[in-house]
């Protein structure tokens, strides 16, 4: 490989990274706008509508304001970790997008075969996302500790306890998906949900309880309302980022919203059929029309809907009490997911135990293309 090739490859990688990172940063800005408008609509008020047409320039104004504000570092704070903490929160949230497949393309017939639109089509994609998103805790933990403030510390402790607890339920609900798909590759999981019955092939049908667990755990993982105890205004002022201001403060919310997009994307990929349309192409009337819409649009549409549900949650539910939160994670979700793994596992191999039970594995085999 000559140096020119290396440079070309590096340039392509840089472009791929930019093609994902820039839209994420933009969508984070506009999700904050959408959040304010949607919650406003739900609470029968306007939301932001002053800056620009229909308030569309509000995120830019907010960003500019935060950018121009002074970054204050408390005197007793641990300077290095205080400055590093927002970065440690943001980096995992962005790095996790490296394995997310955004669709399949032949580049309008330019390529012979279809390529998966992901920076890295990793064999252990699901595990990678789990591993990287579990690193987001460090940003919060560091922020809480380095601030040298009791509110921040309590917020960080709460966040850590919460994220560790819900990660387990999340992991177990993913295990069910892995049993069904027979692969940890995210694009293979989407392919496993392809079929001639449209949305009936999606994993939301056999794994509906796991879909609920995954999404709610995702809500808790990203510290979104109603699980936003780490930043409970009433008792902790603002939780782990009390001492932050200006751009460093904005970095935390950037990380939070990026994590929210990631959870929505993962839910869409693992349970809602990824880039496949909900109805087969030969379905009367709308089938052909649905088929003409590119897969990426379907995936992003599903993701947008799930982000809307996140916002909807925030407008609907009051905040949990901490013991209720822990009870839900450990005493409800954990047994629930564990027993569902056992059910799915036994159903998968029921036919091997006795020929009378073959119908069970046949039923579940409908969703298991590896059989």
């Amino acid at each position: 490989m000559s140096w020119l090739d290396v440079a070309m490859q590096g340039g392509i990688w840089a472009l791929e990274i930019l093609a994902i990172a820039v839209p994420i940063a933009l969508s984070v800005a506009y999700i904050t706008y959408a959040e304010r408008r949607v919650i406003g609509w739900m609470q029968i008020r306007k939301g932001c509508n002053r800056v620009g047409p229909a308030g569309l320039l509000q995120p830019i104004a907010d960003g500019l304001k935060l950018f121009l504000k002074e970054t204050i570092i408390p005197t007793t704070a641990n300077k290095y970790l205080f400055v590093a903490a927002p970065v440690m929160a943001l980096v995992p949230a962005l790095v996790a997008f490296a394995v997310v497949p955004f669709g399949e393309t032949t580049l309008f017939g330019f390529w012979e075969e279809t390529h998966v639109m992901a920076i890295a089509n990793l064999n252990v994609g699901v595990l990678y996302v789990m591993a990287i998103s579990s690193l987001a805790i460090y940003g919060i933990l560091m922020a809480g500790w380095a601030s040298n403030s009791k509110y921040a510390l309590i917020g960080a402790l709460r966040a850590t306890g919460q994220m560790i607890s819900y990660e387990i339920a999340m992991g177990f609900s993913i295990v069910c998906v892995l049993i069904m798909a027979g692969s940890m590759n995210l694009s293979a999981i989407v392919h496993a949900q392809a079929g001639e019955y449209g949305f009936l092939n999606w994993y939301i049908i056999p794994l509906f309880p796991m879909f609920v667990v995954f999404f709610i755990s995702g809500c808790a993982e990203t510290n979104r309302s109603p699980f936003d105890l780490p930043e409970g205004e009433a008792e902790l002022v603002a939780g782990f980022f009390v001492e932050y201001s200006g751009m460093w403060f904005a970095t935390f919310s950037l990380a939070e919203y990026a994590a929210m997009i990631l959870i929505s994307l993962m839910t869409a990929i693992m349970f809602l059929g990824g880039w496949y349309a909900p109805l087969p192409a030969d379905f009367p009337v709308v089938g052909a029309f649905f088929d003409a819409i590119p897969g990426t649009v379907w995936l992003l549409g599903k993701t947008s809907f799930l982000i809307f549900v996140f916002i909807w949650f925030r407008a609907t539910f009051p905040r949990f009490r901490y013991d209720q939160l822990m009870r839900l994670g450990w005493k409800v979700f954990l047994p629930w997911t564990l027993s569902w793994i056992a059910v799915i596992g036994m159903a998968t191999y029921a036919g091997d135990i006795s020929s009378n039970l073959t119908w069970i594995s046949d039923v579940i085999g409908f969703w298991q293309p590896w059989r």
């Binding site: 641990n78 290095y80 970790l81 990793l122 064999n123 252990v124 595990l127 990678y128 789990m130 591993a131 990287i132 579990s134 690193l135 805790i137 460090y138 933990l141 560091m142 809480g144 500790w145 380095a146 510390l153 960080a156 402790l157 850590t160 560790i164 990660e167 940890m184 013991d323 209720q324 009870r327």
Partner: protein, 194 residues
């Protein structure tokens, strides 16, 4: 060539981070160095195409074990002056152990086992070998008994930890959450005819 560069990069950074763990004054910084060290070890696994083990290393050690470590360290009130107090007293003992370890390392390195011709060379198995599947097959067939025994030991440790730390306080008041959740409107609200 690139692989060698990355090997020395990850290896060197892992050694530096390991030294940082020992030499950092602040416990929190030590933990961060340790996490960085784990990352580099994971990088070395990736170079060997062992992506499953690499990811698991990050997922378990960095994502779970170190977080709990940090959880504890955050709560500690480390008094550095007090830690330094016994430094000279423990120095001879520590020094002897360090010298013995150094001699052992040099002896084993020069024993001839690590001659480059006789070293096992890592071979790339290529993309078609899915090492998650391979590990799963080995673990659940050939080493099933060992795997189950390890699982039971872990379970016992888990139960033991809970039993050790569980203390019920009779004077504390707890909500009965299932009673709270199962409350219906009729239990609280009664229509009275006036």
């Amino acid at each position: 060539m690139l692989e060698t560069v990355f090997f020395y990069l990850f290896g060197g950074l892992a050694v530096l981070a390991g030294m940082g763990v020992v030499l950092a004054h602040n416990t929190m910084h030590s933990v961060m160095f340790l996490i960085f060290c784990f990352f580099n070890a994971a990088g070395l696994f990736f170079l060997l195409d062992a992506e499953f083990i690499g990811i698991i290393l990050i997922l378990i050690y960095v994502g779970a074990v170190m977080v709990l470590f940090m959880f504890v360290i955050m709560m500690l009130d480390v008094n550095r002056a007090k830690l330094r107090e016994g430094f000279l007293q423990y120095l001879p003992m520590g020094g002897i152990i360090a010298v013995i370890l150094l001699v052992e390392l040099i002896a084993s390195a020069s024993s001839g086992v690590f001659v480059s011709d006789e070293m096992v060379q890592a071979v790339h198995l290529g993309q078609e070998v899915n090492n998650t599947v391979e590990i799963g097959k080995e673990l659940y067939t050939k080493y099933l008994l060992g795997f189950e025994v390890a699982a039971i030991i872990l379970l016992v440790a888990l139960v033991g930890a809970i039993v050790l730390t569980l203390r019920e306080r009779k004077d504390a008041k707890y909500q009965n959450i299932s009673a709270q959740v199962n409350t219906r409107k009729e239990d609280r609200l009664r229509k009275v005819k006036m």
